[in-house]
Symmetry: C3
Subunit: 488 residues, 3 copies
């Protein structure tokens, strides 16, 4: 059957044309023009970023410009921004010849996605029914970055195997699906998920895995020579890892409640991440001959604790609770790289380049479960009466909800994110199989050569080798004869 | 005539001595000593960074320490600081053997320039006539960083072709010119330019181009082997690109009005930059055989939208307006790299290593024009009465200025920045032609070897090559004979 | 005697077993479990990160959520966080084959240490005697990062020569000693040291040097081939340098007084660092044949001014005072690398891989002295009456202290930090000599191979070399004969 499928693929897809000279510019121009029109119709500054702020401020009896949300959230926004562009981008530079693609396509996808996210999230969350406008401020920018994060996670699963045009399609649908599931989870179900364990990481992870499953390449081993790192590419990847790790407290606290909400979310994430590092190193060492550490684990599994605190970071999970979550995630995520990833590739036919299952999908699910349990276990004793209402936003339609019910709704939210991820990914993956997107051959994956003008290849030529090259270049025949003579 | 000029150059300049052992330390010590003396005479803490703040606060009925400008501006300051030192520094590391010079001289120039900028800007903008002192706070630090940015832009045009001593001279004059043109544009003409499209980018760009024009090297092709990137140097450069891109919203909002001013400037810049990325990728792909992307465009043209929003970011240009500006800048800047840069080098004899014309000068001019148009088109309807006054600072001597007049003054400001850039650059370039500054030969440009102790050359020696090297090193004669024997 | 010692070492330590497969996971798991238990018993959210904040706020008549300490300190915290993980981590990547160890063990040590620091500093500084709990907030996180900085400095002295298990032991004791000396210096002696010239840099520096002295390796020259940089490892190290340099103003102002305290500390540090850069470049150039700059100096000595402002940054040292401190530190630190480090290695038998003596210990001592002098020279005239009390915290038990007395106490604090550093280091070094920790052989230092699974070695193989390799790999015998034939 594998042969038949292969034959079908050969007939349907060959010869693959990786020329994106028409498709990429076309998509970019059409899309950007559409964005300008839609922004013109829909998007305006909100009252805190409009020049009328000074009047609004006086009318609302706000005593200081500092009460502008900008000062509550802008530092966190910039941290999140660094995570999206440098964090995700450099984390994926680990491959020996896909650093341009990792950083460059991450850049393209994110810049493309944030504009669409502002519209989609605006339509679902903040469309003013009277004026028909969406009013944006710094929190909108954070949410747009968050939304794009889901697609960048999915990119991790298909890294090196897709064309930039496919990535833009993936992002277009990804952002759309994200906005819908986010609306269902946060607004309809009223689950809390400020750091996005469910809406970002679970959704993004399964979205990418499902796409990768549909796009399964049986002959990917032909690109095996490039599916690995070199020394310096691993160091570049650590730039991504560390900026993600350091700024994750900002990620999980960026849109939580002013005051204690942001404060607590940052502390919890900080602690969970510290704990994750220790257990990651432990399992990585334990699993190797002579206890040698594996950079793949250090680059990825150390971040799992941040993912898993995405939901519960703003709750009163207590410092030791955060440590426990991190403890477990470090172990499970590292074991994922050791055991699950090979299993998934061999048995489930899911090729997951960056291991997003271990870093995002699984810890995201853990985070959703931890959030549900923590919510269900909340008490007035611990939270205070007002604190409980503030933390879970038991207001408006949800004034009568109990913490037990909230726990159930959190779990329901988790299910929605999984369903959207897998379902959406399967759908989008099918679209991406059309032979029009310019994706590379099986023997040409993980190679920047396909989509980038590469500079000369040698890093630096030591003097003696320069001499050799020089000789050889000048008299290639002689060089050949050199060897043949010696053999005779 | 070229030959005569070359002959003159040969006579006048040869043999070039790149030994900076006396000149560099002498300049550094003399200059730093002068700085200490001048700071001792002129510079003091302002009322918000002085221990008398607590009394000042009480007297001024300020309710909270948070009203200290530190909390409004420090996060933005740190983002700007990162742009100056990591952003500009790493952006220039793309050359295969000039990364030390790129990051290292950028570091030296910036540290040198910010001190002089504090003095120059202080004398022009905030000298207290009573006490004869300059009082500095966090906004002064941001302005000093801004001022240095102009010189770092100019460095981009002459990257690899000048000595560090020349760079210090360039900076000394550059900061001085900057402070004067800034005073004329912002204070006398009363143009608005919070993100410095005109005062920073247009000035800095033309300043560097004019210097490069005067320092034209007809035989620069002799260094052609080093005028290009290698794989990892391009990845390093992306660190610079991304930190500039991510923090540009902070750059353009760092010194705008508290409250809505900072908020709006950040949003506009964020949007313009996102839009620029898409059109840059589009044009880059469209211009290449098989649609392959060029790292030079991605590293540079993606930033043009930030430059072009430097003036209008704080205005009510509307989100879609920002997108339009970014859209155009991505196209024009990329086309600049494709078409204009070769033209300028061949016809105008301007060698622009980093393409600062496409990244700074041209987008800066666009930014100035966009600012003038946006200002002229401002209405009370859109801004509100108070908003209009606040945004354009129609107070004091300028209380009667109309928005139409403001538009004209904005355009006048743009002209001043161009004149100062070209005129100042021609002057300083002439000074830099004196054969005393230790600049490299035409066949020795773009090479860290000239000014840096370099480590061993090889990145990593694979086992078998190590063996070869070992052999050859031990018996160099044998090695030679090896080849000669084979040839016979 | 050297021979005897060597014999003793040979007998006692050989054969060294660098297998850490049991020891590293064991330490990590035991330790992390202990942390969870101790956090469960002791650590809770403080009133600003607890959900009761909303009630607390109302009771305390706090008008805005912004008064939550989070908004005063979180941006600075994130800057410090970047310094700890990216700054220290990448600064140590300069070695050609120890980048994984530099960044990776830095990461492990810091994540391990911050948890223990929260406990140790909590017990000494903020244990509530009634509840027996430690209440943590954002300032606790900053202090934990600070505490870990001391151990990371010590790591710099032994970089490449110790196992990760030894590093964890070093950190365990280091954090403990830090908390005690900090308690003595800040609480009992009541010295001021917000940026930690004494408690962080002097202690950390001497702690590391003393450990390195006890662990002296007479045959370390056997690893000489790896004790140096390559081109790109120096560029990576500049990432560390620049992030440390840029964010040092945040480091020194992170826990100073709200308002003018933070503001002034940032300004002073900014200025001192700028000044340091110029004198570092000057001395580096002056000391080399043809004035060529040395990356070791640029990477390290440029930071000395930040270290030396750690104590006095919050005082009214005046802008020119900061410049003078930076001026001297750049000179002394660079001379340290040129003169002192070789002397220390040859005569004092202290092998200091990163030169922490020149970057931390010596500038730390200078900082302590500058702090003592600046404190002793303080006057009501300059500080204002309230300002003096606020700055030196002359309250409670210390209400009657004079500035002269304060200067003496500052000096006493400096002595305590030196004594703790040297004494503690000697003790811990002795513990680390036990032959159970898995440290490498003398001929195997500075090598990631020992503790890391390394990727394939070659960076990139130019086509022609690939051909050579190919030939040789396929017919190794032929290759050998190749050479032998030629020799005959």
């Amino acid at each position: 059957m594998g042969n038949v499928a292969q034959g079908f693929r050969d007939y349907f897809c060959r010869p693959k044309n990786t020329n994106i000279r028409i498709s990429l510019p076309a998509v970019c121009f059409v899309w950007q023009t559409a964005m300008i029109i839609l922004f013109g119709v829909f998007i305006r500054y909100d009252e805190e970023s409009d020049t009328h702020w000074v009047e609004h401020r006086r009318e609302a009896n706000i005593t200081s410009d500092l009460e502008n949300d900008f000062y509550f959230r802008y530092p966190s926004f910039q941290d999140v921004h660094v995570m999206i562009f440098v964090g995700f981008g450099f984390l994926m530079t680990f491959l020996k010849r896909y650093s341009f693609g990792a950083v460059g396509f991450n850049f393209l996808v994110a810049a493309f996605g944030i504009q669409w996210a502002l519209l989609m999230q605006g339509w679902f969350h903040s469309l003013d029914p009277e004026t028909g406008k969406i009013y944006i401020g710094v929190e909108s920018l954070i949410n747009a970055d968050f939304c794009v994060a889901g697609c960048l996670i999915a990119y991790g699963a298909v890294l090196g195997k897709v064309s930039p045009v496919q990535l833009l399609v993936l992002t277009l649908f990804g952002v759309t699906l994200f906005a819908v599931e986010e609306y269902i989870i946060l607004d309809l179900i009223h689950a809390r998920d400020a750091g996005g364990s469910m809406v970002i990481h679970t959704f993004g992870g399964y979205y990418g895995l499902a796409i990768s499953w549909v796009l399964y390449r049986p002959n990917l081993h032909q690109s095996k020579r490039l599916n690995g790192s070199v020394y310096h590419s691993d160091v570049f990847a650590m730039i991504g890892t560390l900026f993600l790790w350091m700024f994750w407290p900002s990620f999980n606290s960026a849109i939580t409640d002013h005051g204690d909400g942001q404060h607590r979310a940052a502390i919890n994430t900080y602690l969970a991440l510290a704990s994750t590092v220790l257990t990651t190193y432990a399992i990585s060492s334990l699993s190797a001959k002579r206890g040698k550490l594996d950079m793949v684990h250090i680059q990825n599994a150390t971040l799992a604790g941040g993912v898993a605190m995405g939901t519960a970071a703003e709750f009163m999970i207590q410092p030791y609770g955060s440590l426990i979550v991190g403890f477990c995630c470090g172990i499970l995520s590292t074991l994922g790289y050791l055991v699950l990833s090979p299993f998934m590739e061999r048995v489930l036919k899911i090729q997951d380049t960056c291991g997003v299952h271990n870093l995002h999908a699984m810890p995201g699910v853990i985070g959703g479960v931890v959030g549900a349990i923590t919510a269900a276990a909340a008490t007035v004793d611990v939270y205070g009466k007002e604190g409980l209402i503030n933390t879970f936003d038991f207001e408006g339609d949800f004034v009568n909800r109990t913490v037990g019910s909230q726990g159930g709704h959190q779990a329901a939210g988790l299910c929605v994110s999984i369903v959207f991820g897998i379902g959406g990914g399967a759908l989008v993956g099918t679209i991406l199989r059309f032979p029009i997107w310019g994706d590379p051959e099986d023997d040409n994956c993980y190679d920047d050569e396909v989509y980038w003008e590469l500079p000369e290849d040698e890093e630096s030529i030591p003097p003696i080798l320069e001499y050799n090259n020089h000789m050889v270049t000048k008299n290639p025949d002689m060089s050949e004869s050199n060897f043949s003579v010696e053999q005779s």
